[in-house]
Subunit: 127 residues, 2 copies
Amino acid sequence: MTAFARIDRIFSALADPTRRAIVQRLASGEATVTELARPFTISLPAISRHLRVLEAAALVRQERDGQFRRCRLDTEGLQTAAEWLDFYRHFWGESLDRLDEHLKSSVPRAPKTKGRSHGKYKAHGRR
Amino acid sequence: MTAFARIDRIFSALADPTRRAIVQRLASGEATVTELARPFTISLPAISRHLRVLEAAALVRQERDGQFRRCRLDTEGLQTAAEWLDFYRHFWGESLDRLDEHLKSSVPRAPKTKGRSHGKYKAHGRR
DNA sequence: CTGTTATTTAACCGTTGTGTTAATTAACGG
DNA sequence: CCGTTAATTAACACAACGGTTAAATAACAG
């Protein structure tokens, strides 16, 4: 699986409020699917599918336990997302420094960044 | 604006690959809308709307500059998202410790977390 | 003024996501 | 076995999303 696909799944998964609530709930300990569903008004199948999305994003792991299915947080997804955010957050910090340098060297405005060598690329994976 | 709404906008915004690409691009410096659109195959109006979404999420700030509109990263959104992730990531770490303690005190399995006092709540904001 | 460039607004449309209910599979308990 | 509980699969409805093109707005340049 490509790094892009992983990031995409993680942020798509976290975009849904119900799924974020599930992550929050699981942060305080494991739970079965039915237990997870209880506080919500939505149906069990809906929760079940949310869990599959979370699992595909490496945000949740499920483990069969007889009749039950115990769900736990999977740190990997959270970690990956946090790294993505931090990377661009810090990158931005650095470029601020570079911008500062620029201003100090008496250049009236930052370069227009025109004529870059980006190859045209499509809007990536469908959604 | 509630904290929940802010988080929701941020993760919804980051769920789209085009919007993440814009964030990435802006990490290396400001750009106008047309400049941002260039590497993509999608139309300018599409980019324009993506930018409004990013702005509403405090991930991008726009500033009029005559005929142009200069776009820059807004650290606030990235920061907020990173904090959200870290909070639950660390919370999970702590509860692992608590789980460990539990196991060491010869309890066969972690408590079932039944009969919690969660009030039933709906699936929050529409999408 | 007039034309050109930059960007947004409006109207529309196909796809995807999320919810539902009904039916199915799996495991337990008498 | 049989009934019950846990969870998933299937089939469907509907809102929201992200794309498009055409038209509008804004600022600049002759």
